[in-house]
C-alpha cells in the first residue's frame, strides 16, 4: 500500500510497472502538503481513509 501526491503519480506508475507490481494499490492525494496546517493534514488523512479501506479489501475505489 502506497500513498503519494498527484504530482508524483506518473513516477509511481512507472515504478509499479518496472518492479513487476502493476496491480499495486496506490492512493493518490492532492499535492502539495507543505502549506497545509496540521488540521488540514488531518482532514486529508480522514478523506483518504475510505480509499485505503477499499484498497486494503481489494475493492477498486
Amino acid at each position: 500500500m502506497t500513498i503519494c501526491t498527484d504530482a508524483f503519480e506518473q513516477m509511481a506508475t512507472l515504478d509499479k510497472r518496472v518492479l513487476g507490481q502493476a496491480d499495486l494499490a496506490v492512493a493518490i492525494i492532492e499535492h502539495p502538503l507543505v502549506y497545509r496546517t496540521s488540521d488540514e493534514i488531518e482532514q486529508l488523512a480522514d478523506s483518504v481513509m475510505p480509499v485505503l479501506d477499499q484498497l486494503f479489501r481489494g475493492v477498486a475505489p
Binding site: 504530482a7 508524483f8 506518473q10 513516477m11 512507472l14 515504478d15 518496472v18
Partner: protein
C-alpha cells in the same frame, strides 16, 4: 538493439528525436548502425554485454546502447572506456541513481575522469574545466545524461522530478589538473596506481564558487572554503551520510600546500570548521524532516553542527587554471560517490 526509420533531413530528425524524448533538446548526431559500430571500435567490451539496469525504467545498459548514446552526444570512440566505467560507477548502489533520477533536488551525475585514459581522450582539467570549449568534457557528460534519460527513463516533470533542475544536467564532466597539483593525483589518493585511470561519479549540484583573492596563508583560504560550505541551503547540511567534492584551483592549492598541509589535513580542517551553529541550522533547510543525530538532542544554540560524518567524505581534486576561484560541489545527500577503474572486460586497466 533495434533499428528505426528516422527522417533524413537533419532539422526534421532533430525535431523528431525531441518528440520521441530521445534528446536533451540540443541537436544530436544520428546514431546510425555504421556510426555506432565505429564507436564500438573504441572498446574491447562486446557490444551485447549488459553493464546493468538503469533506474527508474530499468532498461538494460548494453555496451551497444551506451555507444548509441555516445554517438548522439557527439563523442569520439576514445570516450567508450570512460563511458563504460561511468555507467558501472553510477549503477553502484551507494550512488543511489534511482534517487538521483527521481528527486526534486537539482542534481546531475557528476563525472570526474583522471589518468592516462582521460588525457588521451582529451578530458580537460585546466582553465575553464566546468565550461564550454572542451569536446571530451562536453560530450562525455552529455552522453551520461542521455543514458540516464534514454535508458533510465528520466524525463523532466514526469520521472525526473527536479523542481528546477540544473544546467549541469546537460553535461557535467571534467578532469584533473595533475600538472599543477602539489599533491598526488586524486586516483592515487584513492589507492589506485598513477598509470591507472579512474572515473568518479556522484549525484551532485553544479559547482559553487569558493572565492578567496586575499588570503596568503592556508588558514585564510580554508576558512573561506569552510564558511562557504557551511550553509543550510544544501542537502549536505542535513543529510550527512554523503560525500561532497572540493575542486581546488592550483593557486589556492599552492598556498595551502606551501604551509605544509596535506590533502588529509585539508579534509580534517574542513570537517572541523565547515559547521553551522545549531541556532541557524534549526531555522530552515531540512530541519525536522529527518531523525537528527542523537548528540544534537543536548545541543545548545552555539553547538557547531557538522555537514560531514568524517573528513574522508570530501573528495579533493585539483582543477582549473590561473586565478583564485575554487569550487565545492554539494551533493544529493542521500548517496555517495563511486570510483571505478577504467578497465577491460577481464578487469585489467585500460591503457591509453
Amino acid at each position: 538493439m533495434s533499428l528505426v526509420e528516422a527522417p533524413d533531413d537533419l532539422s526534421e530528425l532533430n525535431e523528431w528525436v525531441v518528440e520521441q524524448r530521445w534528446s536533451d533538446g540540443l541537436p544530436i548526431v544520428p546514431p546510425t548502425r555504421e556510426r555506432v559500430d565505429e564507436m564500438l571500435q573504441g572498446t574491447s567490451w562486446p557490444a551485447d554485454t549488459v553493464i546493468g539496469l538503469v533506474p527508474p525504467r530499468n532498461a538494460e545498459a548494453t555496451v551497444d546502447k551506451i555507444a548509441a548514446n555516445a554517438v548522439m552526444a557527439g563523442c569520439t570512440p576514445s570516450a567508450m572506456p570512460i563511458l563504460i566505467a561511468a555507467v558501472q560507477a553510477m549503477l553502484e548502489p551507494q550512488v543511489n541513481l534511482y534517487g538521483a533520477q527521481a528527486t526534486t533536488h537539482p542534481c546531475a551525475v557528476m563525472v570526474m575522469v583522471t589518468g592516462p585514459v582521460a588525457r588521451a581522450a582529451g578530458v580537460h582539467g585546466g582553465a575553464g574545466l566546468f565550461g564550454p570549449g572542451f569536446p571530451a568534457n562536453a560530450t562525455i557528460g552529455r552522453a551520461v545524461r542521455l543514458i540516464q534519460q534514454n535508458l533510465g527513463g528520466a524525463w523532466p516533470g514526469e520521472t525526473d522530478r527536479a523542481t528546477q533542475g540544473t544546467p549541469a544536467k546537460f553535461t557535467f564532466c571534467f578532469g584533473e589538473n595533475e600538472e599543477e597539483s602539489p599533491w598526488d593525483p586524486y586516483r592515487v589518493q584513492r589507492g589506485f596506481a598513477s598509470d591507472e585511470s579512474t572515473v568518479t561519479v556522484v549525484a551532485a549540484e553544479g559547482p559553487h564558487n569558493l572565492n578567496d583573492h586575499v588570503s596568503s596563508d592556508a588558514r585564510g583560504v580554508l576558512f573561506t572554503f569552510a564558511q562557504t560550505m557551511a550553509t543550510i541551503g544544501t542537502n549536505n547540511a542535513y543529510c550527512t551520510d554523503a560525500d561532497l567534492v572540493l575542486v581546488m584551483c592550483p593557486e589556492h592549492a599552492k598556498v595551502v600546500a606551501d604551509a605544509g598541509f596535506t590533502p588529509a589535513d585539508v579534509r580534517q580542517y574542513l570537517y572541523e570548521r565547515a559547521r553551522i551553529p545549531y541556532r541557524e541550522w534549526k531555522l530552515g533547510g531540512m530541519y525536522g524532516m529527518l531523525d537528527q543525530p542523537r548528540h544534537l538532542d543536548a545541543a545548545d544554540d552555539d553547538y557547531p553542527v557538522a555537514i560531514l560524518e568524517t573528513p574522508d567524505d570530501i573528495h579533493l581534486v585539483i582543477g582549473g587554471g590561473p586565478g583564485r576561484h575554487s569550487a565545492w560541489i554539494p551533493t544529493i545527500g542521500v548517496g555517495r560517490a563511486a570510483v571505478r577503474l577504467i578497465a577491460e572486460p577481464d578487469g585489467t586497466p585500460v591503457r591509453a
